[in-house]
Amino acid sequence: MKILLIEDDSHTAAYVADGLRGQGHEVDHSATGLDGLSLASGGGYHVMVIDRMLPGVDGLTIVKKIRAAGIRAPVLLLTTLGGINDRVEGLEAGADDYLTKPFAFVELLARVNALARRLPLAEEETLLRVGDLELNRLERTVTRAGESIELQPQEFRLLEYLMRNSGQVVTRTMLLQNVWDFHFDPHTTVVETHISRLRAKIDRDFDEELIHTVRGSGYSLGLSR
């Protein structure tokens, strides 16, 4: 995957770029807003990771300009400010996701992967299928090996999100934001509790586990390799 990274802090840039390259991705890095803008305008990237605060042209402006130029590649915005308006501003400018610094690399990686997979899913498949697990988004039904499974609305949304990102790691924060719309870190085990309930319904009575805990990162749904 070809990724553009626009980040002025050399340490963070090295940390992110090395990490992504370690995952086998191709990374172009630019340390200033102006350079970044010209690279981004050239197109050809699968995902762009853009810092919000940049010397010269700031991240928000870059996002607005490339969106105006018709470039659709997903953008992950990095914010340093403990800013609570940043998320809304970033999304309004045309970014697809945001991540507040400091972040763990696994968090960034999970989000980049999720963003990269988002394009085909924009067509919103009605039926999601992983192995013998099927989820019908319209009828709101779930079956495994043909057996119907009753889910609470939140469990349904949780499973839907996991299935849409099947094979990928989704972090606890991603689940909180996308399933519960919580943009803060709860100190209790909201995610863990719901995952364990979902597991009880999806996995307990079947031979193969579909929901996996990825230590230190989050969860992933898929057939074990």
Binding site: G82, F182, P186
Partner: protein, 490 residues
């Protein structure tokens, strides 16, 4: 704008009304004094004129004798168009020799003849009935040989002058009252507008827009001085706030950046180490994350308190927020052996920040879950309390002693009994900040046993009422799902 009702209630109106009253009263007193002096002067002139005429006729009598005097009197009477003057010359026997008054008992000196005494001799009168209707000021003089001379003049002119003066004074008072009231109102409305401008500015500053300034006229009067001083004070406050904000931003940036690097480094090290060291590093990373989270929470509270967030307000449904958070935590409470319940009497839509209100409710529920033992019941509800949308979280846990209730909203404040439970000590501080941002009050009370937290939104904060569900039907069905909400992202 200044409405008439407001104007009548205002201090400046009362002040001006007093000034107008004092002004009118002093003009009235002045006019009364003028009136009295003028009347006295007119009476004096009348007396003097009568006395002079008496002197002239007495002198004539003395030098030329009675016949000349009689002729002179007859000439004078014939000359009078209106009978303002009255004459009488009578002999010692009391018979009239000349004049237009009936004979009378001789009296020396000044006398006032009532109207009735003049009417006896109608034959002597000539026109001017109105003139005759006034009393006559007269001067009697005994002459030689027992003859008696009387010269009088009626008060017609004095009375007419008094009437004219009274009329003029009446108009004077009316004009004074009009001027005082009109001028006062004009002044007062102008004054009130300037006060209102100051009030408007201070209100919008209280609402979080510190860039507002009181308008000035560029003059040097007290109001401008007040405005200039207020503005200078605001500049100073803004300067201080900016510097506080700069300091916290600097702390956030300068400390967070090295902490981030430290975190990255630890992560990198973890990958290189064997299983033993990995645990150590992992713990270090969790510690670091706790520090970073405290930073974020502090910055967040500071930002909420600055009021800048109000710009992002939209229409939010408190009922939906409550049931979404309830759904997220019901299972968590159950795992802890607690029971989380929800009761939404009816929904309320208010202007607010959905994200922050969600966090506020979550913090309250988490707080209850954390501090309550297994078996406790926690209930969240939304109802109306004396017209105000009120959100309550009630638990059956240990509660908070009355003396401590105010303190728990302080940052990092923790009860002695909860030192051992995890938590940053910032949860309730954030609740308070979010409530303040929405103009809501936070009340802690004893729910016997346990704690009840009530968030009361302003009574006029509701923007449209509707029922969330039919009675008896649970509201937890699909809250937070695909409701057409105004969520900005997620």
């Amino acid at each position: 704008m200044v409405s008439p009702g407001n104007f009548l209630k205002s201090t400046s109106f009362r002040l001006l009304a007093w000034y107008a009253a004092v002004f009118v009263a002093s003009v009235a007193i002045l006019l009364l004094i003028v009136y009295w002096i003028t009347l006295a002067e007119l009476d004096q002139q009348l007396s003097e004129s009568v006395e002079r005429e008496t002197d002239v006729l007495a002198e004539l009598y003395k030098s030329r004798g009675p016949e000349s005097t009689v002729r002179a009197i007859q000439l004078r009477i014939a000359d009078l168009r209106a009978p303002r003057r009255y004459y009488l010359l009578q002999n010692a026997a009391g018979e009239r020799l000349a004049g237009n008054l009936p004979p009378m008992k001789p009296i020396e000196g000044e006398i006032v003849l009532p109207v009735s005494s003049l009417l006896r001799d109608r034959s002597l009168k000539s026109g001017g009935a109105t003139a005759d209707a006034h009393p006559v000021v007269a001067m009697g003089r005994r002459l030689e040989n027992g003859e008696f001379l009387l010269v009088g003049e009626n008060r017609y002119r004095a009375v007419k002058a008094r009437e004219a003066i009274l009329q003029a004074f009446g108009w004077g008072i009316v004009i004074t009252v009009l001027l005082a009231a009109g001028g006062g109102a004009a002044l007062g409305v102008g004054f009130l507008r300037r006060i209102e401008a100051i009030n408007r500015t201070t209100r919008s500053i209280m609402d979080g827009d510190l860039s507002q300034r009181v308008p000035t006229r560029g003059g040097e009067d007290e109001m401008d001085q007040l405005a200039i001083n207020l503005n200078a004070m605001l500049d100073r406050i803004q300067g201080l706030m900016d510097s506080v904000k700069r300091v916290s931003d600097d702390i956030a940036h300068d400390l967070r950046t090295p902490l981030s690097r430290l975190r990255h480094r630890l992560e990198a090290t973890r990958a290189k180490l064997g299983p033993g060291g990995e645990r150590e590093i992992e713990q270090s990373i969790s510690e670091l994350d706790a520090i970073l989270e405290t930073f974020s929470a502090l910055l967040r509270i500071a930002q909420i308190e600055s009021g800048a967030r109000q710009a992002a307000f939209s229409n939010v449904s408190l009922g939906r927020i409550l049931s979404a958070v309830f759904e997220a935590y019901a299972a968590v409470a159950e795992v802890q052996g607690q029971k989380l319940e929800i009761g939404v009497e009816r929904d309320f839509s208010i202007r607010g920040d959905r994200e922050l209100l969600t966090q506020m409710v979550a913090n309250l529920i988490e707080n209850a879950i954390r501090h309550c033992p297994a078996g406790a019941r926690i209930s969240v509800s939304l109802d109306q309390d004396t017209g105000a949308p009120t959100l309550s979280v009630t638990d059956t846990g240990p509660g908070i002693p009355a003396a401590e209730r105010d303190k728990v909203f302080r940052r990092f404040y923790r009860l002695e009994t909860s030192r051992t439970t995890p938590g940053s000590g910032l949860g309730l501080a954030l609740v308070k900040a979010v409530a303040d941002l929405h103009g809501a009050s936070v009340e802690l009370s004893d729910s016997r046993p346990g704690l009840r937290v009530r968030i009361r939104f302003p009574a006029d904060s509701e923007i449209g009422a509707r029922k969330v569900s039919t009675p008896g039907e649970p509201v937890t069905g699909h809250a937070g799902g695909e409701v057409p909400d105004d969520r900005a992202g997620g």
